[in-house]
């Protein structure tokens, strides 16, 4: 996956074919790993809680946001900087995640995903005893 996401770009999706004739963009994300959880923040303007789809299969997390293509009628586009389209991005998770307790919220077009780490995957500190 491209790491240089200064500008979001459409990303070729290998495997499945499109059934919706829209562009798909890569949302900008922040991923912060804390002691007990991983927090993923994704900028997805135009997406709300109903139009977002999050799947976790094995250790691949995929977020998909569907955006209404409400191109304003009676107007013509005079100047365009961003395209309107869906969002998709997948991540491979390095640690086992407690699937039952994943929380997702969407506010102001920003997805916040909290992935709690499973008990087994939490880092254990090993004390070194002096001999």
């Amino acid at each position: 996956m491209a790491d240089t996401l200064d500008v979001k770009e459409a990303e070729a999706y290998d495997g499945a074919e499109h059934t919706r004739a829209v562009k798909v963009y890569t949302p900008a994300v922040d991923i912060v790993e804390k002691t007990n959880e991983i927090v993923v923040t994704a900028d997805m303007p135009g997406v709300d809680d109903k139009s977002i789809d999050i799947t976790l299969e094995k250790n691949v997390l995929t977020i998909y946001g569907k955006v209404d293509l409400d191109v304003p009628e009676k107007y013509r586009a005079s100047y365009v900087e961003y395209g309107i389209g869906d969002y998709r991005r997948s991540f491979t998770l390095s640690e086992e995640v407690d699937r039952q307790r994943i929380e997702a919220t969407v506010k102001n077009g920003v997805l916040k995903l909290v992935l709690p780490k499973a008990e087994a995957a939490k880092t254990k500190k090993i004390e070194v005893r002096a001999a």
Binding site: V7, D30, T35, M44, P72, Y75, A77
Partner: protein, 166 residues
Amino acid sequence: MLFSDLAGLTRRGLGGLNRYGQYGWGGYDAVQNRMKQMQDEMQRLVAGLTERPAAEREFPAINLWTNEEEVMVTAELPGVNAKDLDITVVGRMLTLKGTRGTTEEAKDDDCCHRRECRYGNFVRAIELPYEVDGDTVSAKLEKGVLTVTLPRADADKPKKITISAN
């Protein structure tokens, strides 16, 4: 810039020729340097074509829609609250000013795997194609997308001129 460099090369390249009609060492180096410079220049030019221009990477990204009656500006403002956003119109200049606070502060022992979202203050001034009626401007911020509708000022609307028949 590229062309002036080329002209420079011709002049200096000639100066580099020794009396046997070949490039002396100094002259040859100079040509090589020139070649390198030109290569860099070309790369920069090509990069400018493939990358999106700097103006497009400004935050927030905007789209401008127009018709005869009004202008509509939409902007992607993920994570920005309506109360943190200031919209002003002066003449033909629309200014969007605001701030996006961080939601997730990383502490010292946290590990940031990705940091791509933009936070902090932003300001963006957009020149509109028409004079607008400042009193009737409306704006809404929904799902991280701002839509500002600016009706064209009456004085600025095109007037149809009827030709009177004699």
